[in-house]
Symmetry: C2
Subunit: 348 residues, 2 copies
DNA sequence: TGCCCTTTTGACAGCGCTGTCGACGTCGAT
DNA sequence: ATCGACGTCGACAGCGCTGTCAAAAGGGCA
């Protein structure tokens, strides 16, 4: 039923092979011939059959985005997906999604996965992107991959942004507002994001000459509940922080919940900031001050890079894309001035 | 490099064709032969090459989920995706995602899309699922599709849930709490969800003997901003409602923002409920009372059904899956009793 | 046992494209 | 003018599987 490469060849008066060359952007086709063939393609509305292409060329034209299964539903992944789709648009590549339990031994199972789906390229996000054994196995299997925000040097193609600098910048913002006692809720162990964001927090304190107080740092796991629990511990201290920097928006929401439960009003009694700029940051009241993580751009670049690396296997790329600090209403100057003596009247 | 069907045939001592029959679940293979072949498949770790299959069988083994482009990033789509992936797991089918601007004339462009990607089945969500011309064109092209929450009878396979009943139920909840003056923020015109949820709102009022007041219904578009604007209008009325039912969680968040801006505390001064149970409903403070829309199950059923319809073209299916009303902290009894005379003291 | 009909199995072609390899044309250097 | 080197193009086989169709095997009945 549909038009085949053969029809195009006949229409343009050339061999099938030459049409194929034009389709695949091969050099060594004279310009006028190329133009004639391209015209025929347009005229006949020809689109190559992906299955036939895959079979003959022994490529799947598939890019697999692998992500952690329990995280499915997070807007982070959705944003990444959008970027991946953008990158595939206009190429013969298609995106396929593969949730994988991080609990499983992925390094062991990846072989089966690859022979089954034969993706031409993989895009890995944390925690998979931080799995050294997995990356090594992929190298052995000679499968191209790009990582996103991996903490491993091992990955030849990695896209991310300077999370440490961003974290420092947002903590700077709190310091500029006048906060001196700033709590931090960390991310999940093993994630690069955890260390980078915490280090940024430290950097900002150091620059401002504020002592780093271990007891102001509470363990989180990037989730709402973990943020709530961690904030509870911080707020129940004898001398609670006037501001809390949570390493993710979800956790920041948990912090706000914990504050509300204790009768605190944000930002009057507590400034809160998050990280990621997920949709909830905009929708919560007050709007959450946070760092806009350029997910779409990151995954778009990751896909573009990894596709490029198919042609140029030796390729390396380590790109940090620009981010943006989003100041909203959840951060404000602390209520009490630093010297408690001045404000005796405001406790009723 | 990898094992081919030929290897399996040799190992089992049968012809390639018989192995193919087993792979595709054809009848007319004697049980003992089938068992032997299945054993060989397992032993050799054989997985059929999808491209070769597609080419020979003239099927793509692709299910396309088409959604509206600007909506990308919504957790609704992400949930649907998860369901689609679940349904594909264990089948030879793969899911591909296709964002499409609803603004474009999809009915005209779908032909090109289909010849390009050759999906075996489509899953359509609103607004595409409500595009009569699109569905008609798909029928002409003989492409199987399933719709999700379509308002059109035309669709032979549609999965959804009883949104009208669910809306009535959540408004019942407000009435039971004692609210009599309940506002409603509608969804976007053209969506079935808009009409169903508004009708449910009306049903509940009617059952409770409360007059339907047109001026308590404000136009929304399912987005945060539209909810905020609509709530603003309702709250600035001479006699503002004591509760607002927004037709989506995003809009409910907008309602809460509008309330905050007017110095109102939720739920003390205003009860708010939403619809969908997106992640934000859990993370916002106070937690949002809403209806849990079983997205994953819906899309999973949609895919299962549409794949089934490939074998049985005459198939019809119109399934309503169970939903759940999620009561959280954003709804409470109204502050002032209905008779204003009793409460003279509480205005300072 | 022999016949016919049904069920089970296999030989073969071909899906639509690309890789290989060889033929031909073109150009510059000798 | 001759030759080689390179650039350009086409014939052909074959990627790994399934559809078609015919052959073989089984089964019921006379």
């Amino acid at each position: 039923m549909p038009v085949r490469i053969e029809d195009v060849a006949a229409h343009a008066g050339v061999s099938v092979k030459t049409v194929s060359r034009v389709l695949n952007g091969h050099p060594n086709v004279r310009a006028n011939l190329r133009a004639r063939i391209e015209a025929s393609i347009r005229e006949l509305d020809y689109v190559p059959n992906p299955s036939a292409r895959s079979l003959a060329a022994n490529r799947s034209y598939l890019v697999a985005l692998m992500f952690d299964n329990p995280l499915a539903g997070s807007s982070y992944i959705m944003e990444l997906i959008v970027g991946v789709l953008q990158a595939c648009k206009g190429t013969p590549y298609n995106a396929v999604l593969h949730p994988f339990d991080a609990a499983d031994d992925l390094a062991a199972r990846i072989g089966g996965f690859v022979t089954q789906h034969r993706p031409d390229a993989l895009v890995l996000v944390p925690p998979h992107a931080n799995d050294a054994k997995l990356l090594q196995r992929l190298d052995e299997l000679d499968v191209r991959y790009a990582t996103i925000s991996s903490k491993l040097r091992q990955s030849r193609i990695d896209i991310g942004f300077d999370e440490r600098k961003a974290a420092a910048e947002i903590v700077d913002h709190l310091i500029t507002l006048g906060h001196r006692c700033i709590g931090h809720v960390t991310g999940l162990k093993g994630h690069g994001a955890r260390a980078w964001r915490r280090d940024g927090y430290r950097d900002a304190l150091r620059r401002a000459g504020i002592d780093y107080d271990e007891s102001l740092v509470a363990e989180g796991k990037f989730t709402f509940e973990s943020g709530m629990a961690a904030a509870g511990a911080l707020l129940d201290r004898r001398r609670p922080p006037t501001a809390i920097f949570a390493a993710s928006d979800d956790m920041a929401c948990g912090v706000i919940r914990a504050a509300h439960e204790r009768g605190l009003v944000v930002p009057r009694d507590l400034s809160v900031c998050g990280f990621d700029d997920t949709p909830v940051a905009r929708q919560i009241s007050p709007g959450l001050t946070t760092v806009r993580q350029p997910c779409r751009e990151i995954s778009r670049l990751a896909v573009e890079s990894v596709l490029q690396s198919i042609r140029d296997p030796g390729m390396h790329r380590r790109e940090r894309v620009p981010y943006q600090v989003q100041i909203r209403e959840s951060t404000a100057a602390p209520r009490k001035p630093r010297r408690p003596s001045r404000s005796a009247s405001d406790t009723p």
